[in-house]
């Protein structure tokens, strides 16, 4: 059991939790994730290691409330424990030897992007951050990003925070102004990453994306997280989650992410399973 030592609501749908998991805290690197299960009949859900404290043995996760599993997780309070918490999984992000990088985070993807921005900053990279949100209420991690970036821009769909517009508008503006990046790292909704990649391809800037397909085991056993990269089959949990964005088949990934959409919609009412108790 993994004890929750801190819980903070970052906005109406995003929560930060700090969990006791010393072995994972000791090993975790930016870009890696954990898989957790909050109760006996619960689903295994992947969440990025947003931060860690090696000394105190703590791991931070930041999650958006999207469906049943994240809601059940959110029912847990400080002092409660998470049933299963496994990691660190996946390949750490590549953060060495880069002079100038632009980190683009969209929505809750900012939680995934933050540790990477921090690792780059700590490595002496000049970090530009562009975050994007639908509106002011959904903004997260502003202070955190400010502390680990040299230039920071925030965009919102309605202009209630930062500038009105999309992250791609800002990125294009910077590129057009002659900014040179060794790499763009884009993390957010699939559609956002797809459009960032289309843009950076025109400017011939290397782009890394963090793919978040549906997962179960996270060890390469089920193949549920597979995607096509350069027309080859890759497993995001062991080969990724970071991939060269110009080689990812986004349309396929978008279709695959909707595989269980019907089920998830019904899961909140819990009425769609096969067997009822009596026939078991």
């Amino acid at each position: 059991m993994y004890k929750i030592v801190e819980k903070e609501r970052l906005n109406p749908t995003v929560t930060k939790m700090v969990v006791e998991a010393p072995a994972i805290a000791k090993k975790a690197k930016a870009g890696q994730f954990i898989i957790l299960r909050s109760h006996e009949m619960g689903e295994r859900i992947p969440l990025t290691v947003a931060d860690y404290d090696r000394e105190k043995g703590l791991v931070t996760i930041i999650y958006q409330l999207v469906g049943r599993s994240t809601m059940l997780l959110d029912n847990l309070e400080v002092g409660d424990a998470i049933l299963d918490f496994v990691g660190p999984l996946g390949v750490p992000s590549h953060v060495e030897g880069m002079k100038r990088v632009c980190v683009v985070g969209g929505g809750v993807g900012c939680a995934i992007a933050y540790p990477t921005a921090k690792a780059l900053y700590d490595n002496g990279t000049e970090v530009t951050v562009i975050t994007g949100f639908r509106n002011k209420d959904l903004e997260i991690l502003r202070d955190e990003f400010e502390a680990v970036s040299h230039h920071m821009y925030t965009m919102s769909d309605d202009g209630t925070v930062g500038e009105k517009g999309l992250v791609t508008n800002k990125l294009q503006e910077l590129l057009d102004a002659g900014e040179v990046f060794d790499e763009v790292i884009a993390i957010g909704p699939l559609v956002m990453m797809k459009f960032v990649c289309q843009l950076t391809k025109q400017y011939d800037v290397k782009t890394t994306v963090s793919m978040n397909p549906i997962m179960i085991d996270g060890t390469g056993m089920c193949g549920c997280c597979r995607l096509s990269v350069n027309n080859e089959m890759k497993f995001a949990c062991v080969d990724g989650p970071d991939f060269d964005g110009h080689q990812v088949d986004f349309d396929e990934a978008i279709a695959r992410s909707r595989q269980y959409a019907d089920f998830e919609a019904k899961a909140r009412e819990k009425d769609c399973h096969l067997f009822h108790k009596e026939v078991r």
């Binding site: 918490f85 496994v86 999984l89 085991d217 056993m221 089920c222 193949g223 396929e252 279709a255 067997f275």
Partner: protein, 461 residues
Amino acid sequence: MPNMSPNKVPMPHQEPNVRNKNVAEVATGYTLEMAQEEADRCLQCKHKPCVNGCPVGVQIPEFIALIKEGDIEGAYDKIKETNALPAVCGRVCPQEDQCEKLCVRAIKHEAVGIGRLERFVADYHMANGENKIPTIEKNGHKVAVVGAGPAGLTCAGDLAKKGYEVTVYEALHKAGGVLEYGIPEFRLPKAIVSKEVQALKDLGVHMETNMVIGKVFDIDELFEDENEAVFIGSGAGLPNFMKIPGENLNGVFSANEFLTRFNLMKAYDVEADTPIFKGKKVAVVGGGNVAMDAARCAKRLGAEVYIVYRRGTEELPARKEEVEHAMEEGIIFKTLNNPVQVLGDDKGNVSAIECVEMELGEPDESGRRRPVVKEGSNFTLDIDCMIMSIGTSPNPLIHRTTEGLDTNKWGCLIADPKTGATTREGVFAGGDAVTGAATVILAMGAGKEAAQAMDDYIQNK
């Protein structure tokens, strides 16, 4: 006078049309009377041919004699001397290719139902017997086991009995390996697996779940943690795909994914949060035990199910009993057919597979007749779900993170077939991680031999 009936005492089963709608066990097991009647069919041969067919050397005539005498606990102890998991083996061993194949009664008629008797004894013990927890004197040495499948569990149990302090590290949240995530409830109830795992804990084995070795610790760190030897029983969990167009369409699953959702995550249960795709028409590609299990799970979710296999019915590698059970349950066998591409609709969902017919040519290296494509025989089969059961390979996670641990060209760890010693000192391995996908009892045998070799290694250091 022994019972000279040519046939085994029939195993009671749930009716096919009832059981294909629930997950309760298919074969319900012998009663004491049935077991004793079957035990009477054993001729108590002096030269015990059957024992040579058992990879772990269960003392078959001896335990059967104890059943006849009515000493079921005695029979249980006898089996346990060499087999750590009788309730499991009695259910899933391919007995027809092992112990029962060499039974003298099999020359003319049906073999003695050794597996059924083994299962009976184990179940009887679980229901009525007492678990004697032996007092073990610790020998002061520490060892680690990676993977809680049959290989790792057997190795851990043997080492614990010898007095070692044993820690098992398992990647998933539950111990059992394929017994837990692969083989379905209706063939091997999970309560049995849990009891076997509990019995190991009672012996003092530390069971650390949620530990992916190679990620949270690597093998070097296990040695730094004062373990004197390490056993790797990480299985062969990496699913193979066919590399044909359309495999990433929605509705196409690896058997591992489908079975893990069904078994480990209990997706058939109304209380479980994990979703599973309930196809209307499901094609399962492959002909082994895994394919039969996937097909029968899909059937239980309400689908019309096809097994698509490129060789003939005779060549199906699955256990005969499982093929028969699948046929009884209404699975449709499309043998001598092979998919060449998966077709999808505009939403990215699978809508059909294109197959070719096959015919059997000359025998290949494996001795089986090689399937050859019948030119121009392409046809399409409308489906909404496809499950790939065409084999698995060992997971590369551990050897990639461990220096000096060599693998062969199939990714299997190289290990001495007698001792399990790998190319790295102090590291032993066995089970599917070494052989590629095989059987429960072979994995157990490898775990057992490695435990002995690890003991020798540590004691002679």
